[in-house]
């Protein structure tokens, strides 16, 4: 006997719905496999994995958290970009505006700041997790090296963002930071000149840090993450006891 069609049935049975969602409700293994395989975002995962790889006390979710914070940073960062002006004259005032007159501006700024700190910590701890579980061993050597590059990019992202509020904390932290870099043997002065575009930190440094922070380094990070995640799949998923 045919069951009466509910509204939900009509919607999920419509041509529009079925052109978007190309599998049935995921309560059978077939549909559970299809939902992973037919969605470009979920397709980053295999259809099935080893049981130990889902154990929270193995990865402590740290790699996932690093990625999650990268996503939060991207979204809150785009919102901040609507208001922030990378000019030595206007930057500080635009920060003040974000905090006092932009709806949810202070919240966006706080979330951006705290997840940036969180990402540095999470990435570092993720490296420790990977190390102490011996997960860098063959065939994962190359992914470990990609990871080290990601660590460096994460530091640089955080450091370039540090200058943007153009307050005393920003100016002097970056002054100390670039002075450390400037002490490099042979190339220090040149590196510093490239970073600052001037003898001291001013407009040209700000625009360089800004461009690195909002375009170049996020793209570099995304590129490295793509390779990182791809390698995890190709190396047979998360490492586990032999």
């Amino acid at each position: 006997m045919r069951r009466e069609q509910t509204l939900a049935d009509r919607i999920t049975g419509s041509a529009v719905w079925r052109s978007v969602v190309r599998h049935g409700y995921p309560d059978t293994q077939r549909n559970q496999a299809l939902i992973i395989a037919s969605n470009v975002f979920l397709h980053i995962h295999p259809v099935k994995i080893k049981r130990y790889a889902t154990k929270v006390t193995y990865t402590f979710c740290l790699g996932g958290l690093s990625f999650f914070m990268f996503l939060v940073l991207t979204m809150t960062g785009v919102l901040l970009m609507f208001y922030y002006v990378p000019s030595a004259d206007l930057a500080y005032q635009s920060m003040k505006d974000i905090e006092s007159s932009v709806t949810f501006g202070q919240l966006m700024r706080n979330m951006h700041r705290w997840s940036a700190q969180g990402m540095v910590i999470a990435v570092f701890l993720h490296m420790c997790r990977v190390f102490y579980t011996g997960s860098y061993k063959p065939p994962r050597e190359f992914n470990w090296v990609i990871g080290v590059l990601l660590l460096v990019v994460t530091f640089l992202l955080s450091f370039t963002g540090y200058l943007l509020p153009w307050d005393q904390l920003a100016l002097w932290a970056v002054t100390v930071g670039t002075n450390i870099g400037g002490a490099a043997p042979f190339v220090g002065e040149q590196v510093n000149m490239v970073l600052r575009g001037d003898f001291e930190i001013g407009q040209s440094a700000l625009i360089r840090f800004y461009t690195l922070h909002v375009i170049f380094l996020p793209l570099a990070a995304a590129f490295l993450m793509a390779v990182h995640f791809w390698r995890i799949r190709k190396d047979g998923g998360i490492s586990g006891p032999l």
């Binding site: 559970q32 496999a33 992973i36 979920l42 995962h45 259809v47 099935k48 994995i49 080893k50 049981r51 130990y52 790889a53 889902t54 929270v56 979710c61 996932g64 958290l65 030595a88 500080y92 905090e99 919240l107 706080n110 979330m111 700041r113 705290w114 700190q117 969180g118 420790c128 190390f131 102490y132 579980t133 011996g134 061993k137 063959p138 050597e141 090296v145 080290v148 955080s158 450091f159 540090y162 509020p165 153009w166 307050d167 005393q168 904390l169 920003a170 932290a173 002054t175 100390v176 930071g177 002075n179 450390i180 002490a183 043997p185 220090g188 001291e200 001013g202 490492s239 586990g240 032999l242």
Partner: protein
């Protein structure tokens, strides 16, 4: 399996087969022809829902924590940047304060560039130094590995805290050795504040390796554990010293006497 069993007995056009033969047929079918991508082995689970749920829940929990934190604590915004007013102390972002701490004790190029570069290259080289598959997937590899972690952490902390205090006593002159060498042998900066500090660091790493070797008879993996743990401990101790114990003029102070808040 169930599908096959249903089809066979009494199905149209099928000759009923005896029990023994049916058993054999089932084995054959399960082994190869009907294997599907969704067939799960003993130790496997479906990513949907088993992994996706973990991811979704941890993302939600984390977003909640982050939101609550951001509602309660504001990001710092100090006075407008002023190149003519140097704060005392001036500090780099906290994750570079380990380098800034090192910088107090030796040549800036050595502390700020050479040591971190060597450390990063060394870390990147780990998988090419330790290639045995031993201990993969086990936190700390073995009971011995975990004891080495504990030992190295304590050793590194004691050595670094001791060195910071001693060097502070001598007015940051490499325990007075730099001054002594310069006065008596007229040695250049290159020796006093570059080569000498590096030799001291190498010495302590050497002592660590010798101790671990004697005490634990480690495998190569376990020796690498000692070295990596030494790095992590040094990073942590130097960062804490740089963030929480360096006040005006980068002199040692208690955290509660620090003049400026840093985030």
């Amino acid at each position: 399996m169930a599908e096959i069993a249903q089809q066979t007995p009494g199905g149209q056009g099928f000759t009923p087969i005896d029990e023994a033969k049916r058993q054999r047929l089932l084995e054959l079918v399960r082994g190869r022809a009907m294997a599907r991508p969704t067939d799960l082995a003993e130790d496997e689970v479906m990513v949907w829902p088993s992994l996706v749920v973990v991811e979704a829940v941890s993302a939600a929990v984390f977003l909640l924590i982050l939101t609550v934190l951001s509602v309660m604590v504001n990001a710092p915004l100090t006075a407008r940047a002023n190149p003519n007013q140097t704060p005392n102390p001036s500090k780099a972002p906290w994750y570079f304060l380990n380098l800034q701490e090192l910088l107090l004790h030796m040549n800036a190029g050595v502390a700020g560039v050479i040591i971190p570069t060597v450390a990063l290259v060394g870390i990147a080289a780990i998988p090419y130094i330790d290639r045995s598959p031993l201990g993969v997937g086990i936190l700390g590899t073995s009971a011995k590995g975990r004891r080495i972690i504990g030992f190295t952490f304590v050793y590194t902390t004691v050595v670094i805290v001791g060195m910071i205090l001693l060097n502070e006593q001598s007015g940051r002159t490499v325990f007075g050795l730099a001054g002594f060498l310069q006065e008596n042998l007229n040695t250049p900066e290159l020796i006093n504040y570059q080569i000498l500090p590096v030799l001291i660091i190498v010495f302590w790493i050497g002592v660590l390796m010798a101790l671990v070797q004697r005490l634990y008879r480690p495998t190569r993996r376990e020796m690498v554990i000692a070295l990596f743990t030494g790095f992590v401990a040094a990073f942590v101790v130097l960062t804490i010293s740089g963030t929480s114990f360096r006040g005006e003029g980068q002199d040692l102070t208690w955290p509660w006497n620090l003049p400026l808040e840093h985030h």
